[in-house]
């Protein structure tokens, strides 16, 4: 199961990186969503994938039995999902606004902050 998930996560990462390398902001946003989900799946897998043994400490023991899925990464994922969701919401608005203000979704043409023909500093008085 873990091996299957490792391949799946690898595919997610590959697709995310491919999309992030695009010049167009919409594809980059999709890449960010995929990247966030790839990380969440990765965290999920680190905690062992099983539902055979419930994560409950039996009477007379002070530790979880061997082979239990670790519940902590699942708590980490919850935090990460909330954060990446709010970031994505912000980025969506920012990208839309950038499209409105700058008139393009091509990052190569977004040169307002760094103009191409920027003046050189003066060489003398």
């Amino acid at each position: 199961m873990e091996a299957l998930f490792a391949i799946l996560i690898g595919l997610f990462f590959a697709a995310a990186v491919y999309l992030l390398l695009s010049k167009h902001t919409v594809r980059m946003l999709l890449g960010i969503v995929l990247l966030g989900n790839a990380v969440n799946l990765l965290l999920f897998t680190t905690g062992r994938l099983t539902r055979e043994v419930p994560p409950i400490i039996p009477t007379g023991m002070d530790q979880l039995p061997a082979g239990t899925a670790n519940p902590l990464p699942q708590a980490l994922i919850l935090t990460a999902i909330v954060i990446s969701f709010s970031f994505f919401a912000f980025l969506l608005v920012l990208t839309y606004r950038a499209y409105q203000e700058l008139g393009t979704d091509n990052t190569d043409e977004m040169r307002l902050a760094e103009p191409r023909d920027e003046e050189r500093p003066p060489m003398g008085y």
Partner: protein, 529 residues
């Protein structure tokens, strides 16, 4: 439902049962007070005047709390407090050691200075859009990152300060800001995601997120676990946050676009958080792996400081110029991490402290220069020395400090780093520190020549924004206080050198840190998984 156990459970193995001593609350109070002030400021969003007063009071309180915390850490050693009474490693621990406490104090001082400057720089609409609440949340994130003792919690504070920084960056919604913010947001989000990946792998390897616990266990896992790969991932993520070459390009794309106070806060604080995390993780938690990767870090450091210095030389806009100076400073700090001896790490910490104050001050100087002379570019600026001699003297002090020339505070960290790199025979690293400082001297010397000494032809054009009379206390006080600090620690570096030396020694041998999180009894009882 399981039937309730008849055996009485020994809660003292897992929970803190005694009430927390009042002085220990100092560890969480800085963060808690900032979040509370942020919430309070959201409530009074509409009253523009009241906001400034409350925010300044809050930042002054933060300075006091951080100073108290630093004093306590200096006297008693690292202090730990756990959340929800759960004993570490189960509960999230806040652990303040010398390194974290001194960084938190300097950040608070700089934020107070910038907050006072903001009273003139941020107009009524900027305040209604929430400048001061965002500033408080930014400081909550910054202070939390410096004081937390849990690596996932560090990630959460990174995100808190990142979200606050987005809000500050787009304040004003001008097209340039949207352009800069888009690049900043996407690249920083990828950076923190990489950090999260590294944290996931770290948990898979160590089974714990508590930094003291990781430092204890690293020795036993070194033979079997892929710790070098893990360290490389962390270094990449933090280098991206710190804007080290070759992942530095988001900084010059965005840092010159927001209001100048926001640039000052970002340039002073945000990149240093990356350096802080880099030092914390590589020097304290995974020192052997850092040693293995030290050549990579050193090459990146040398290139970062050279690219920063050369970039500064090529800029016409003084805000962009200062942005490249921030990058050059990051290179110097990374050199300290690459060398890794306690002396070098103390140099890096000293450099970070100095850089927090100097870079913030330089951005504020750029803002004031533009307000006086009506331009951001070197070709437009001029006549500042005649118009404002005292301001020029203060600027000159910061220029010397940024270039690392005596007798200002910027010289000492460079001296420490140079000596450390020559001690291990890394002559090329020492050479790049010197060349970078030389080129920065040229770049800043030219700024002084053109913007301050060159007579201005014609009357200065007006900059938009609230008009402040000459000698306004809201400008004189922050710049004067920062000048005082830079001069003071340039002339009397001994206490600060001692402090950073102790901080670096405690990082190299984190026994005191571990003992503060796991008091001896807990180790003996074996109450750990």
């Amino acid at each position: 439902m399981a039937t309730p156990s008849t055996v009485p459970v020994d809660l003292s193995a897992a929970l803190v049962l005694a009430p927390v001593p009042l002085a220990d609350w100092l560890v969480v109070l800085p963060v808690a007070s900032m979040i509370a002030f942020g919430a309070l400021l959201m409530m009074v969003r509409k009253s523009v005047r009241l906001q400034g007063t409350i925010a300044i009071a809050g930042l002054a309180l933060l300075v006091l709390l951080d100073a108290g915390l630093l004093w306590r850490v200096m006297v008693h050693g690292p202090v730990t407090m756990v959340m929800g009474r759960w004993l570490p490693p189960f509960g999230i621990a806040f652990t303040a050691d010398l390194f974290g406490a001194v960084m938190a104090l300097v950040s608070a001082v700089v934020a107070l200075a910038a907050g006072i400057f903001a009273l003139t720089d941020i107009d009524a609409s900027g305040r209604r859009y929430g400048f001061f609440p965002f500033l408080m949340l930014l400081m909550a994130g910054v202070t939390g990152a410096f004081l937390t003792g849990d690596i996932f919690n560090l990630y959460v504070w990174f995100e808190v300060l990142l979200i606050a920084s987005f809000g500050l960056l787009i304040l004003g919604s001008e097209p340039e800001q949207i352009d800069g913010a888009l690049k900043y947001a996407i690249l920083n989000l990828i950076g923190t995601t990489l950090f999260l990946i590294a944290v996931g792998y770290l948990y898979a390897i160590f089974g714990t997120l508590n930094m003291a616990d990781i430092a204890r266990k690293a020795g036993t896992l070194r033979e079997t676990a892929p710790l070098t790969t893990l360290t490389a991932l962390f270094i990449f993520a933090f280098a991206m946050k710190a804007a080290a070459f070759p992942v530095n390009f988001w900084l010059p794309a965005s840092y010159h676009t927001p209001r100048i106070v926001v640039s000052a806060l970002f340039g002073g604080l945000l990149t240093k958080i990356g350096i802080y995390a880099l030092i914390r993780v590589t020097v304290m938690l995974l020192p052997v792996e850092r040693e293995e990767l030290s050549l990579m870090i050193a090459v990146s450091a040398a290139l970062t400081m050279l690219i920063g210095a050369l970039g500064a030389l090529a800029q016409n806009d003084i805000r962009k110029l200062v942005g490249y100076l921030v990058i050059a400073g990051i290179g110097n700090m990374m050199a300290g991490v690459a060398i890794g001896t306690p002396a070098a790490v103390s140099g890096a910490i000293l450099y970070a402290l100095n850089s927090v104050a100097t870079m913030t001050a330089l951005y504020l100087v750029a803002g004031e220069a533009a307000r006086l002379a009506g331009a951001w570019s070197l070709s437009g600026l001029g006549g500042l020395y005649r118009r404002a001699p005292w301001f020029s003297a203060a600027s000159f002090a910061f220029f010397l400090a940024a270039a690392g020339l005596p007798p200002l505070a910027g010289m000492w960290p460079k001296v420490v780093l140079l000596k450390a790199s020559l001690d291990i025979g890394a002559w090329w690293l020492a050479a790049s520190i010197l060349v970078s400082a030389f080129v920065i001297t040229l770049a800043l010397g030219r700024v002084f020549l053109l913007a301050y000494w060159r007579p201005l032809s014609g009357p200065a054009p007006k900059m938009p924004g609230e008009d402040a009379p000459a000698g306004d206390w809201r400008i004189v006080l922050p710049l004067g206080a920062l000048t005082f600090l830079v001069v003071l620690f340039g002339l009397l570096p001994e206490p600060l050198l001692d402090l950073t030396q102790r901080a670096a020694t405690n990082l190299a041998d984190p026994a005191a840190y571990i003992l503060s999180v796991f008091p001896q009894s807990a180790i003996e009882r074996g109450a750990l998984p």
